[in-house]
Symmetry: C2
Subunit: 336 residues, 2 copies
DNA sequence: CTGAAAGCGCTAACAG
DNA sequence: CTGTTAGCGCTTTCAG
């Protein structure tokens, strides 16, 4: 089928494309009668506006690009939903691209969004990302940038993060209150502020309790299930750890499996707390204590910041979303 | 920053935009030397092609739109990854939109993709979808359409589905072989073929075993955790069921929780099998038997069909991806 | 209130 | 091998 354009409509009604364009855009300088005529026949003819042509002309589009490491993480998919909740009613479209935690794919994604002239870019950094040149392009192109969760300060624009510090603090304090004496920490990459902050909260809780910070009890780059499994083996062999605060639920899951394979009873002999409250956490046996992030709210805030940035309003430089500790069976013991 | 265009490059090098365009497109009718010059200075000047302009001119774009009910379902997010695996290397971009299982949002998504003149649309129907007018538009616009998983025959184009029939058959046969005598079935909406087929497989297994099909043991529209929880209560009150094959893992989860709350021991007193093999299934206590769908392979096939359709090659009308039954503790008992 | 005209950035005949 | 020209569909001054 030939696609129908505004000129087709104009011809049929004996007017010019400009008038049709204005009528469709609800321009106030058009008489009520022609507006109605135009809108009726456009529907009748099955007109679909060509947004590419419009964006090309206007120099900007109503599409917002969003780059996330993976969409099959509970946290990220809920942030996406939160963003859509605000963006769609405001007349924006969202396109989501996965970086797969790979810098190379993040670079390509940024490039592709820029080439599509999106109205703005929402980004959570991949684990691999250690250089920010590709994002300098975004800045140079004057494309609004909003970062969330995994952010870097070396770029301008809004940064919306979780209260990772408090999360780490609450998780660790809980383990201490449950009577664990040697609380270890499985962290992520220190390149990411989120993990540094969770670790800082962990240390703060130890110090508050007058406990010594033992570097041997802190292992970084342990975020996968596999890493959790293998690292917990090393940990119990080499140290006197009796509990672990993991910076993610997947490593906590791996750690739990590792401990079970060694015959440990959880939580009596070993306490575990994760981070992110993945859907499986409450269903595990024993159920996994975790720190819940308010992903929907974060998404809402991210979208709001993006809209403000597009409208060139003042944007909050940093915004922190509160977290909530959820105690479950993997750690709950003799709480005082 | 002003965005740099091919004319800017052309000016700087004293040639015409056409030459630059051709050099950038690796057109063979361009001398090696100018090609190199153009590509170098384009990089140097930070040129980003405006794909909107190109698509407008060419009348088609390299962007494929994909509409899924929800991205936070293990199955769907893996199909997405499978699609990307094929589409990205082939030079296509994928944009994903969620319908949220709502017809209204599915309609809007289709409209938006059409307005963006995507090169093709990949679709899995929302649960609510009971009319297909919005998809007639896709056909009318000559936009290639590939359906997967939740498909309707009333539209042309490729349809890639799981072998739901065999899945239902294997799950039910397993329960029968484990000695359960009154196997019930929690289905989804019969509007969707996937659920009708799973049910057909269930019935086939019963009949093969010489068991009577009892309509009281079959409940439809039970796909959420909540529905599974409440319906299992009704089921054990009103019938003699001693096992249930659920058309989804979420309802199976709810059913398991409901049975536990009633003091049932699983699988000794009641057997459960789900469908989809969500990540939580293996982690539950007891772990949930389920039917695994090969989502990555499905994604690959979907993408391949789309590429063929775009290149106007022959496309397979229907393709069926095999499934695999995974027996776990929720059903495994006295197997023979 | 409506029309005429220009141009967003790119590609593709058609000519050289 | 490269230049000329026209136009994709739309918006937006600038004139009436």
């Amino acid at each position: 089928m030939k696609k129908v354009t505004i000129s087709d409509i104009a011809n049929k009604l004996n007017m010019t494309p400009s008038t049709v364009s204005r009528a469709l855009a609800n321009n106030k300088r058009i008489s009520e009668s022609t507006r109605k005529k135009v809108q009726d026949t456009s529907k009748e003819m099955g007109y679909q506006p060509n947004v590419m042509a419009a964006s090309l002309r206007k120099g900007t589009s109503d599409t917002i690009g969003m780059i996330v490491p993976r969409i099959n993480r509970h946290f990220f998919s809920n942030v996406i939903s939160g963003v859509e909740e605000i963006l769609n009613p405001a007349g924006f479209n969202l396109v989501v691209i996965q970086s797969g935690e790979l810098l190379s794919r993040e670079v390509k994604a940024v490039e592709s969004l820029l080439q599509n002239r999106v109205g703005g870019i929402i980004l959570s950094l991949s684990l691999q990302t250690n250089t920010f040149e590709h994002l300098q392009d975004v800045v140079k192109h004057n494309t609004p940038l909003v970062q969330f969760d995994r952010v870097t300060k070396s770029l301008p624009g809004s940064k919306i993060t979780n209260d990772n510090y408090t999360g780490g603090y609450l998780a660790t304090r809980h383990l201490i209150k449950c009577g664990f004496k040697h609380v270890a920490h499985f962290s992520g990459s220190y390149k990411l502020r989120a993990y540094r902050e969770r670790k800082a909260g962990y240390i703060a809780a130890l110090e508050e309790a007058g406990m010594r910070v033992d570097e041997k009890l802190i292992v970084d780059d342990v975020i996968t299930r596999e890493a959790g499994y293998s690292q917990i083996h090393k940990l119990v062999m080499r140290t006197n750890a009796d509990a672990v605060f993991c910076a993610g639920d997947y490593s906590a899951l791996g750690a739990m499996e590792g401990l079970k394979s060694l015959g440990y009873h959880i939580p009596d002999q070993f306490g575990i707390v994760g981070f992110a409250n993945e859907p499986f956490s409450e269903l595990m046996d024993p159920s996994l204590s975790s720190v819940e992030q308010n992903a929907l709210e974060m998404g809402n805030k991210v979208a709001a910041a993006m809209i403000k940035a597009i409208q060139k309003e003042e944007v909050p430089e940093e915004e922190v979303i509160p977290v909530r500790f959820i105690g479950r069976s993997s750690s709950w013991k003799d709480y005082k």
